[in-house]
Amino acid sequence: MGTQNVPSSIVQFAAVDKLINIGRANSLWPLTFGIACCAIEMMATGCARFDMSRFGAEVFRPSARQSDVMIVAGTITKKMMPGIKTLYDQMPEPKWVMALGNCAISGGPFAFEGQYSIVLGADEFLPVDVYVPGCPPRPEALLQGIIELEHLVSDWKRWKDPEAAKVVKV
């Protein structure tokens, strides 16, 4: 973790940079892009019970130009791979990729002997920042993934790490 080197900012000022990173971390707009089962859980996360919008991350943008994070939610097939690559290239910097679900991490249950159709994980061709495991992951897991991504984007912590707090007590 730590402040990431963002390619677009050539001139860096510490304080401003920090502010910008906090801005980025708190308004992660995902791309409306669902592939398979995990996309349903992604939608459920955006809906009433779990509500991603609390973190400012509910603004699903249909256009790649306006989004910050690509949530790869589902199995990537060899037919679809060029499309996903194009979408990633269309997103403006800085951008992040989240692999949601086992299929996007490693091919999941479809990584099988004799498999001819799928790509074994999004990290074969995309720089994945956060992996959220599950088949499909629960909405809470996706929320956790978003918070992890926020930590990754900026050093600023939304909440104190409860694990770390425990250690201090002991």
Partner: protein, 334 residues
């Protein structure tokens, strides 16, 4: 009031500030309002009630890479978002928030606002045309037909109000409506004309405002499930931010005009409430209207383009023309 350079600068700065603040916090209001309608909390973690969300979004948008698609018309591509924001801000200059709070009153204020409002449509055309994207292109074609179709009934309805007031001066129009709620142009029973069709013209004007500002159910320009993101498909970072802010600034202008033309501007609804400053009443009416905008957006599905044009050409224009004739007749009689 003498017009000095300082005056003008202050006025413009205040107008920009007001427009920007409104735009930013209306986004917040929209997101919170939508959330409330949809039984969820909405952005509430960043700052108290999520009030820090708009500045954070703004910072992010400003710090994002600016992309211009290959083959795009660069000049128009950059001009379009500016053109979306600029007329709205200029319109603020002439809006009277109360008897005293007005940057520059003009005796043709109505004309000026409509002149700037038509420029807003142009930004959509520029954006759609220049981004070299088929979806954006289709959206800009839609935007033209929509702007043409809805400006006509809107202007005709405005002429009705101007005929009643006998002035194009926004302050004069408001002064005409002073008294009680029954003097307002929406129910002009005690005014100088006894036009019983005015509630209908209010509805026509309000519908046209919805359509002119590209709000649901008339948001065909950016119809998300059809044209991806419409005219701003290719816009990222602050270009998109400006379109977003321009949309909200336009909503504010539209609601201001509705308030001034129909709801009595800064006048209190009942005479004994006159001790409360006028600007309070103006802002109250303004934000109630904006709340209605948000409410409508999250309740109704989107119409179709032919449904939209049919509504204007087959219903609103004949109705508003009839209304104009009726009002002219009434003015002649009384």
């Amino acid at each position: 009031m003498r017009l000095t350079l300082l005056n003008v600068i202050v006025a413009v700065v205040i107008a920009i500030g007001f427009a920007a603040l409104n735009a930013a916090y209306l986004v917040w209001a929209e997101r919170r309002g939508a959330a409330r309608i949809q039984r969820r909390p909405g952005p509430n973690i960043n700052g108290p009630f999520g009030l820090l969300q708009p500045p954070l979004d703004g910072i992010k948008l400003m710090a994002k890479q600016l992309t211009i698609p290959g083959g795009a018309d660069k000049v128009l591509f950059i001009a379009a978002p500016v053109l979306a924001m600029f007329p709205a801000i200029m319109s603020f200059v002439t809006i009277p928030f109360s008897e005293t709070i007005v940057a520059k009153n003009m005796n043709v204020g109505v004309l000026m606002i409509f002149a700037f409002a038509s420029m807003g449509g142009m930004s959509l055309v520029f954006a759609g045309w220049s981004s070299r994207n088929k979806y954006a292109m289709m959206s800009s074609v839609r935007a033209v037909s929509q702007a043409v179709a809805y400006e006509i009934p809107m202007l005709i309805t405005t002429i009705t109000v101007v005929m009643i007031s006998g002035s194009m001066d926004l302050m004069e129009i408001v002064r005409q409506q002073s008294g009680s709620i029954l003097h307002w142009n929406i129910f002009p029973l005690l005014g100088n004309s006894h036009n019983i069709l005015m509630p209908m013209s209010f509805l026509i004007f309000f519908t046209c405002t919805l359509a002119e500002t590209n709000r649901a159910p008339f948001d065909l320009g950016e119809a998300e499930s059809e044209l991806v993101a419409g005219f701003h498909t290719e816009y990222g970072s602050m270009g998109f931010g400006l379109f977003f802010m321009g949309e909200y600034a336009n909503i504010v202008i539209g609601s201001c005009m509705t308030t001034i033309l129909f709801l009595g501007g800064w006048n209190a609804p009942l005479p004994f409430l006159g001790f409360i400053p006028g600007v309070f009443w103006f802002l109250l009416k303004l934000y109630l209207l904006i709340a209605t905008f948000i409410w409508i957006r999250w309740t109704f599905p989107r119409t179709t383009i032919y449904g939209l044009l049919n509504l204007s050409w087959k219903i609103l224009i004949p109705l508003s023309l009839f209304n104009l004739l009726f009002t002219a007749g009434l003015i002649k009689v009384f």
